[in-house]
């Protein structure tokens, strides 16, 4: 197995090319890292993606606007409602259409619940990467509760296809408000349990504190957004800086980290769960009956032109650019996937750390491969 690589050093000390291949328990799906390793220290890292490139953007150009929503569900398959919302907002901006009040409230409730479910999945798999087998069981139990509620709302556990252009698909089930309030208390207890179990655990702190540190300037230049960026101290949150739907009517605060290391990114997501639960409470109070879909054509045909809208996904700032040529199919759809941009910053974070740290940093970035490769 002849391996040629040109390195700047004399042949006797040669780095080992460790290939954390597409199938690796810690790479959250089909992500491949080639690590240049010197003993246990990582000298350099070359990420390889594209193992899940399904060509969704090409398929979207051949589907009507309603069908494109199903493809958006499958991009970031852990936070489905948020993806649907991103695309639908771009098309509504194109058609300058204002969804009714009740539809906006329901969208925000479902998106925040999806954010909590996504952060719970992150906390579970993050602990699994570090070696603790038990927290993943508890966080998935909470996640099952949220998925049961989603099933009663949209009929599906994951791929909801529920948010439509202009509003939402159908009215909520009538026991939704009562059931959601009960769910919020259970979730608060569930998140507190994970928080108590994991956050200040000695070994967890030793493994994640000071690992994969990045300062705000390089993070912004790498395109890192979401909890990854806020961990290094920047206060950029699309819900606060560029409020959409009804986020300006809710009062919540955005947690900010100090050191920008893996623990901060984890701690931020746990605090965001609490804030999301607070938001859902307020939304449920302000929810009142009303129409859920405006009067519009059954098949949306936006006017010719282009529009760009972006929302706050659990992983970062998802942007959707839609070019329409007046027909019922989009001419071009481009997605700004937050996980794709977060991966650009992976190399700076991992250089100089150990192999075990590379796994921890990749886990803390919380990437979803469906979104990275589109």
């Amino acid at each position: 197995m002849a391996t040629e690589y040109d390195t700047g050093q004399t042949p006797e000390t040669v780095d080992m090319m460790l290939n954390m291949g597409p199938q690796h328990p810690a790479t959250h799906g089909v992500f491949r890292m080639v690590l240049a390793v010197d003993g246990e220290r990582v000298v350099d890292l070359v990420p390889h993606i594209g193992y899940l490139h399904r060509g969704s953007e090409k398929l979207m150009e051949n589907e009507t606007y309603a069908q494109v929503i199903t493809l958006f569900d499958r991009l970031d398959y852990v936070s489905n409602f948020n993806n649907e919302l991103a695309f639908v907002r771009a098309v509504e901006k194109l058609m300058d259409l204002e969804p009714p009040e009740r539809a906006m409230y329901i969208r925000v409730i479902l998106c925040e619940l999806n954010r909590v479910a996504s952060h719970l999945l992150f906390a579970g798999t993050y602990a699994l990467d570090i070696g603790a087998m038990t927290p993943v069981m508890y966080t998935f139990r909470e996640r099952e509760r949220i998925q049961n509620l989603f099933e009663s709302v949209s009929g599906a556990r994951m791929m909801h296809n529920y948010i439509r252009i202009g509003g939402i698909k159908e009215e909520l089930p009538d026991d939704f408000v009562h059931r959601t309030r009960k769910l919020i208390d259970e979730l608060r207890r569930g998140v507190e349990e994970t928080d108590k179990l994991l956050t200040f655990n000695e070994v967890f702190l030793a493994r994640t504190r000071g690992v994969g540190m990045i300062d705000a300037a390089t993070a912004i230049s790498c395109g890192l957004t979401g909890p990854g960026l806020r961990a290094s101290g920047s206060t950029y949150d699309v819900r606060k800086d560029d409020p959409y739907e009804i986020y300006d009517r809710l009062d919540y605060d955005v947690p900010i980290g100090e050191y920008g290391d893996s623990w901060d990114r984890y701690w931020l997501r746990i605090q965001e769960c609490y804030q999301s639960l607070r938001m859902i409470d307020q939304c449920l109070d302000q929810l009142e009956p009303g129409p859920i879909m405006p009067q519009m054509r059954r098949i949306a045909r936006p006017p010719k032109g282009e529009a760009y809208a972006h929302c706050e996904n659990p992983r970062g700032d998802i942007g959707v650019f839609v070019v329409s040529d007046g027909t019922n199919k989009p001419y071009r759809v481009k997605v700004r996937p937050p996980s794709f941009c977060n991966l650009v910053a992976l190399r700076q974070m991992v250089q100089g750390s150990y192999i075990a740290d590379a796994v921890v940093v990749l886990g803390s970035l919380d990437i979803v491969l469906g979104e990275v490769d589109r």
């Binding site: 002849a2 000390t13 328990p25 010197d38 003993g39 070696g131 087998m133 200040f200 290391d261």
Partner: protein, 395 residues
């Protein structure tokens, strides 16, 4: 010396029968360990554990065993065939041969050697060779990494383990395990030297590679360590050896520190003694599985620093205080006090850290990690800091 040569045929057959009984007994115990682990971990994680295979999933380990026996024994084309085939035996034989001197009750022992503990220490070190060879022979980078990690970990945790046993020998006055247990008639050694027990347990868990210290079998980093490329019956031998080692550490903990089959209040018939001994052993085994269910994994440099910077000084201190007590002939409760005193030092530091407010403690860990990185930048650690133009390995 003459006694050794004149070994009659009957003696050989007795020993052979005892060994086969031991092997079958061990296999049954390993099956019970596998079952307990899966059920107990299930309970910790809020789920049920195997229930479908036989009543309460009791036949699940049997099903695993059958499947592994009938599995194809694949070995990679570029592996070093000879060593690849021999490595599992090199791990299994020492961990099995150890059981000759380990007594299950006063007279239930295959061969009660005078230097029983010395024999135990000599053979418990051999499994490192098997792991490193397995890692090297299967020619996969992960296996080599796993092998090197296991070598580093086992070597550095062997010393505290041996020193803990040394103190037991000093206090008991003899290396014969049955004698050690009979000395603990009145007071088990855990009461006399709690520090020794703590050291023995920590080093024992690291010896076996169980969760806070399981870096060589870490499936999220090194994908299964030295036995990545083994499959079928060969891999079953590793699986068996790992569980036998866990049981071994539990048995030795029960024998040396928990008093084995001796009951402080009066004498016990040998059967009840055996039951008590088994109870203590399975208690320690459940404690090990409990750790596996709850703790995350340490990184290799943290693991090494605990081994060298914490366990080693404590084991020296342990020997010192035992020497003082024996030399001056003080009563044994003084050794308990001194032992607790030395144990209090690390515990005090830990409590002091724990009592800080949580965010304060998190910040302290961050500062410590930054200092650690500053002290050992990548350039200074022998690898010249350079951006290597990494090309695709052309294979």
């Amino acid at each position: 010396m003459t006694e050794l040569t004149a070994v009659t045929f009957s003696e050989v057959s007795v020993i052979a029968a005892a060994l086969t009984a031991l092997l079958t007994g061990l296999s049954i115990i390993v099956l019970s360990l596998v079952w307990i682990e899966r059920k107990f971990l299930g309970r910790i994680q809020g789920r049920v554990g195997p229930t479908r295979v036989g009543p309460f999933g009791l036949l699940q380990p049997v099903a695993d065993g059958i499947k592994l026996l009938f599995k194809e024994d694949a070995s990679p084309a570029w592996a070093n065939k000879g060593i690849f085939w021999a490595a599992p035996l090199l791990i299994f034989i020492p961990s099995f041969v150890l059981w000759i001197t380990i007594p299950f009750s006063n007279d239930w022992v295959v061969r009660n050697l005078e230097l029983g503990l010395f024999y135990f220490i000599a053979f418990s070190v051999l499994s490192i060779v098997g792991l490193v060879l397995a890692g090297w022979a299967s020619a996969s980078k992960y296996a080599v990494l796993g092998g090197l990690r296991s070598a580093a970990q086992l070597v550095s945790y062997e010393i505290p383990l041996i020193m803990a046993i040394l103190v037991v020998v000093m206090v008991a006055g003899s290396m014969n395990i049955v004698a050690v247990v009979s000395n603990q008639e009145s007071v088990p050694y855990i009461a006399i030297m709690p520090l020794g027990f703590a050291l023995f347990m920590l080093a024992g868990i690291a010896e076996v590679g169980r969760t806070p210290f399981d870096i060589y079998f870490a499936e999220s980093e090194v994908v299964g360590g030295p036995f990545v490329e083994y499959s079928g019956a060969h891999w079953a031998v590793f699986f068996l050896a790992e569980y036998i080692n866990t049981f071994l550490i539990a048995v030795m903990a029960a024998l040396l520190f928990l008093g084995g089959w001796s009951w402080p209040f009066g004498d016990l018939p040998s059967l009840a003694g055996l039951a008590l001994f088994m109870g203590k052993t399975y208690l320690v085994v459940v404690f090990i599985f409990w750790l596996r269910g709850t703790y995350p994994r340490l990184r290799i440099d943290q693991l090494m620093s605990i081994g060298w910077k914490v366990l080693l000084p404590l084991s020296f201190a342990n020997i010192l205080i035992a020497a003082f007590q024996l030399f001056y002939g003080w009563p044994s409760w003084t050794l308990t006090l001194m032992s607790l005193g030395v144990l209090a030092v690390p515990v005090y530091f830990q409590i002091r850290v724990q009592r800080q407010p949580a965010m304060e403690r998190a910040r302290m860990y961050a500062e410590r990690a930054i200092a650690h990185r500053a002290r050992r930048p990548i350039a200074e650690t022998g690898a010249v800091a350079r951006t290597v133009t990494v090309k695709e390995p052309s294979a």
